[in-house]
Symmetry: C2
Subunit: 721 residues, 2 copies
């Protein structure tokens, strides 16, 4: 489309509704107009044209991104030029002149295969800004980084940026089913329109890839860990191939979930025993079939012998047997296996929090090289707050992959504003002490603590068919933040919030400062109104929507909230010290030692590790019951404050996003009160104590809260109703 036609088309769009609708779709790639003339001059005087060195699909998408952004920033075309002053030059190291390669030698030595340099250089004696890397994908990452500099209104006159990802496999996990329902999805349905693939390539596929590449995500697992083996059949491989082809220029590999019983379900074999030769051959053949179509296929993600999924244990084999068998199939093609450690059994009477550690730690060092053991951030299940998973640090001879949940299964679905990078950061910065102080989880994950080559971080996606991808406009920040932390797990969540706000809304500090503060506080707020002081897993059953601390009759004991809070007339909390389950022993000292006494346990984890009397004296001098109640109340009050903050932001935000956030905050407030009231009404039966004066009596009685039913809450498969 030429510029003239482009401008004409621009006029087509002047309806207000239309404009706003689009902003949500464009995520953090708004490329908002630079209206400040000094700033504009800084950019347009430093960049007079665009020059590509070499040619590839990845270089093309880099150039297109820059061209579209340029139009959007400056309402100006950036021309392709082959010579002249002040060019923006894009190309990989091999395309640079030998002199320039030599000049940049020390910089190139600092980056890895996916890293990049952005630097003011002289090319043919003329000043230029060079975006270079060891690979074209690095150039693409550099291009997005360069555009971000403009989005953040940074000076580029002397630009000099060197960056590389610290983690190798930065992967979204889609819990998307083939019928397009999304397990724990709250943003509509799956964006993968399997029925119309491979023929229909939707624009959303490309924009999904653009968004991911812009934050450095380089892999996507297309299918649910509760897997369907049909995706491994030829017609689906053809569909997966079509997606892989869209994603390839953006540096994104596709992965699939492998249902362990696939050899059986295919009808080919009557066993899926990983030590059976025919089974091993079946998987090798299957991998060969996939790689013939998708040469850069990433590999498999497997949930085995967990929550009803089949696995090697069905044949008396171990997780090592299972993972290593799959590894043999994909390793010759450069693929990997991500094997989930999320296992627990109803036949094991041990504290569920202990089981994954007990089962996996003995396997340390036994997995083959291209297996990543994928471990959730905490030992239970993506709760609003959990201590870091004790497996981190406990398997020095095994590459461990972090699994975060971006979709808010337990944190208010897509209707609560919760900035998750704050949670992710808390886990990553937790010190495991396994090699003394400064043995953070981040160092386990990026491989530096035990010198691991293969590294990875997975995020369970919050993306769906919603027009703005994530439902809640602030849900986009969690996708964004996950990508940023997968690139650099040491990053400060404040910086992430600030960048995201500027790129997504506006650089105006009168907006950025208060909204950033609101975001940074939001995770603590949800902990307060849902599960304060170390409480966990007290949500309602199945859909996990709203409170359900009373639930006690599910078939598996460890599925019941009462298993986790253990409230009775004596007190509340899960004793995980020596006098209880001793899950604490799975942590290194000084954690194990320090947390063994409630007095030295951080209050945020108090009831995670201790069962304490209702009148237990807390740091602030009040008793436990008083603090539980007032913390729930604080959570509610803080949501009210978020509403106040947001109301002041109306003038900085387009109408549609402003209104949507406003409406969602009202839902959040209503549900925060519901959590407070239902949990306090329930726990008060046991505490037998009055509510503090500052906490209002629950709006309804306990029976009312217990009676609420939500058969069509989102995120569950309709067949589970």
């Amino acid at each position: 489309m030429n510029i003239k036609r482009h401008i004409i088309v621009l006029f087509f769009l002047s309806s207000i509704g239309i404009l706003n609708a689009q902003k949500g779709y464009d995520l953090w790639l708004q490329y908002s107009e630079i209206s400040d003339s000094q700033l504009k001059n800084n950019y347009t005087s430093n960049i007079k044209g665009l020059k590509l060195l070499g040619s590839s699909a990845t270089l093309d998408v880099s150039a297109n991104e820059i061209k579209n952004a340029w139009n959007s920033f400056f309402d100006q075309e950036i021309k392709n030029l082959t010579e002249g002053e002040n060019l923006l030059v894009l190309g990989s190291k091999d395309e640079l002149s030998p002199a320039l390669q030599e000049e940049l030698k020390s910089e190139f030595a600092k980056i890895n295969e996916e890293g990049f340099l952005i630097k003011k250089v002289s090319i043919a004696n003329k000043p230029a800004i060079l975006i270079t890397a060891k690979s074209d994908i690095g150039v693409l990452y550099g291009s997005f980084r360069f555009l971000k500099e403009i989005q953040l209104h940074n000076d580029i006159s002397d630009i000099d940026i060197i960056d590389s990802p610290k983690i190798q496999k930065r992967v979204l996990n889609h819990w998307d089913n083939l019928d397009r329902t999304v397990e724990r999805g709250y943003a509509g349905f799956s964006i993968w329109d399997w029925h119309l693939l491979p023929q229909l390539i939707k624009p959303e596929y490309k924009d999904y890839a653009r968004a991911n590449a812009s934050i450095g995500i380089n892999g996507t697992v297309l299918t649910n860990v509760n897997a369907n083996s049909l995706v491994l059949t030829a017609p689906y491989i053809e569909k997966v191939k079509a997606l892989a082809e869209v994603f390839r220029p953006y540096g994104i590999q596709v992965y699939l979930t492998a249902r362990f019983s696939a050899p059986l379900e295919s009808g080919d074999l009557d066993t899926a025993d990983p030590l059976n030769d025919e089974v091993r051959k079946w998987w090798k053949d299957k991998a060969d079939e996939i790689y013939a179509e998708i040469p850069d296929f990433g590999g498999f993600l497997v949930k085995a012998n967990s929550e009803g999924q089949p696995g090697p244990n069905n044949y008396g084999r171990s997780h090592v047997d299972g993972a290593n068998m799959l590894t043999e199939a994909v390793a010759p093609h450069g693929g990997i296996v991500m094997w989930r450690a999320f296992v627990y059994s109803e036949h094991d009477p041990a504290d569920r929090a202990k089981q994954a550690y007990s089962e996996f730690v003995p396997f340390d060092g036994k997995f083959q090289d291209n297996v990543l053991v994928q471990v959730k951030n905490g030992a239970i299940d993506f709760q609003p707050r959990e201590p870091f998973h004790p497996i981190f640090g406990a398997m020095p001879d095994t590459p461990l992959m972090m699994e975060f949940q971006i979709t808010q299964e337990y944190l208010g679905f897509s209707s609560h504003l919760v900035f998750l990078p704050k949670l992710f950061e808390e886990t990553l910065q937790s010190d495991t002490y396994v090699k003394g102080e400064n043995s953070s989880v981040a160092k386990v994950i990026d491989g530096t603590l035990s010198n691991k080559k293969l590294t990875g971080m997975a995020g369970v996606a919050n993306i769906g068919t919603e027009k703005n991808w994530t439902g809640h406009p602030f849900g986009q920040a969690n996708w964004y933040g996950f990508g940023r932390l997968a690139w650099d797990p040491y990053l400060d969540s404040k910086k992430i919030a600030e960048d995201w706000l500027k790129m997504t809304f506006t650089n105006n500090p009168e907006f950025v400062q208060p909204v950033k503060d609101m975001m940074l506080d939001s995770r603590e707020t949800v902990v307060k109104y849902m599960t304060p002081l170390g409480l966990h897993h007290i949500m309602d059953t199945g859909h996990h929507y709203g409170p359900g601390p009373w639930v006690s009759e599910l078939s598996r004991p460890e599925w019941n909230p009462v298993y986790y809070h253990k409230a009775n007339s004596e007190g509340i909390g899960f004793d995980r010290t020596k006098s209880g389950s001793n899950a604490l022993a799975q942590y290194a000292d000084p954690i194990a030692e320090k947390y063994s006494s409630p007095e030295t346990t951080p209050e945020k984890y108090l009831l995670w590790f201790h069962h304490l009397p209702w009148d237990y004296q807390m740091e602030n001098g009040n008793n436990l019951w008083f603090n539980i109640a007032t913390t729930y109340q604080e959570g509610v009050d803080e949501v009210r404050n978020m509403i106040d903050t947001w109301e002041k932001m109306e003038k900085y935000v387009d109408e549609q996003r402003y209104q949507k956030v406003s409406m969602l905050l009202q839902i959040q407030l209503k549900e925060a009160k519901w959590w407070r009231d239902a949990c306090l009404a329930y726990f008060q039966q046991f505490s037998n104590m009055e509510l503090p004066e500052s906490v209002p009596a629950p709006e309804h009685n306990l029976e009312y809260y217990k009676s609420l039913k939500f058969p069509f809450a989102p995120g569950i498969r309709p067949s589970w109703n």
Copy 2:
């Protein structure tokens, strides 16, 4: 948002991808820029400002629509002015001066409550264009009509338009489930986000209402006819109320499907017998509860004793008993009941095509005044082609509502380009002959044939969460066309196609003419490659995706394709003459007489009414087998022609819509071949004759086609897999 801010925002949006994505969402309300200066002058010189007479929410949305459109057409603001020359004046009759009311007396006499006048008049001695009506909704319809005149580039200097809808209830039926799956939905999932209602009001709800109002649709049934009684509980009524409030200014009433067993399922009663006093009271109370929240609630749509749905027959009562009971509940509030005639029973050995007539015609005159009996266009089920339903004309004392299917359950889902107004028109213009010649179905439906007061037309919606609402860009034309025909069932489908193309794409005749021709031919094309010469119901089972003429083992005989085509070595077709089921006797003469002989039966209905030998001689001198085969081939060839036509249109269409249609046409071609090959491979077993030379041998053998399985084809509830 003021204009200055508006213009700034405009610049934000210059990325090409962004622009194209939006065009699909905006449907036929593109309001494309008027670049021709003469044209622009015609409009802007005739309209210098906007003046509203009176005030109401409906008047506000009318004015907003005009303002937004004005920006989009002319990149100019249209100002609110109270006096001056050349104003566009909006207001209902009561707001006009007595003199003007008198002047327009004869015009007002010609319109009904929803009709409108658009006329050049003199107000305070100054020329003005007046949009007026007996109601504000009429003014809104007039406003959309006025904007359409500009979209079509018509001269407005002497504008003089009088129009009224000919049918009273113009209603979309959403087969949307509460879990957001859509039965027979091929455009994603339900746009009703029940979980976040009533608090979250999505922009889509308003844009849905705008689009419907623009074509005169004035009602929407939110829920599936295979109903869930939960929607009648208080929490859902609150959600429905929130939608009703969005729709109200646009003149759109909400309706719900009433599950007949709701009194039982609510737990309140142990029967749903319509003659039981408690049941009657239950429904009255329920209606009162709904109307207390939604004073303009439209009423209920009911599928009873059909395909497993509960109904009055469960209690030995009739459809009349059931409908009249519900009527009693809603009538005091001005509501109606739409009672579906789509019934057939596996216990009735009679031809399924006869059963609805046999059951309903004896009830003629027995339904209460505010019941509409809703009848599908044909006697089987929304096939690519069916003769009109014999009930039309056979129940002169009962208001009959037409039910068309906009969603393409049997016509290629959302991946085949089929312009359905051509099908709707064929039914509406069919002559029933019940009162002699010129007793068209349209006259039955608009009430003129038998002087009916209550009239209606329903369309099963093809709308979903797809970014462009309908999936296929040309699917939008079917929504549009349904609305136009519900407003005026005598409208020519050519006019509909032409208007839609101009409003949706461009006025350029080099685009409009060939694409219009393609659209007009497209319905005949799908008949040819799916079910030529009167064949019907030979699709695969459950999902109805692709051919399945071999299916013969379903539990209910009338669910099997073999029941319908009856192919054997003797011949093919369903004998519905006296020698067969005699369904033909349900039609008036001369149809019954004329169609009793194959020689005088239109060939398009031949195998619907006759079982004929494979070597039966057709009009063109070839035998039946030859013509079946060559007609399938013609269908395939015509899809190829569509592709050729579309390829020439690239320069007139934005990239994104162009590419999407191109990709979908390739799917259509592939599936047309599949239908041809599978059906001919199957039928050839019986004909035992060679394929004509012009028809290639099927690509695969019959076993291959029979082996194809599509467990995740869209449009079925996941629990049906």
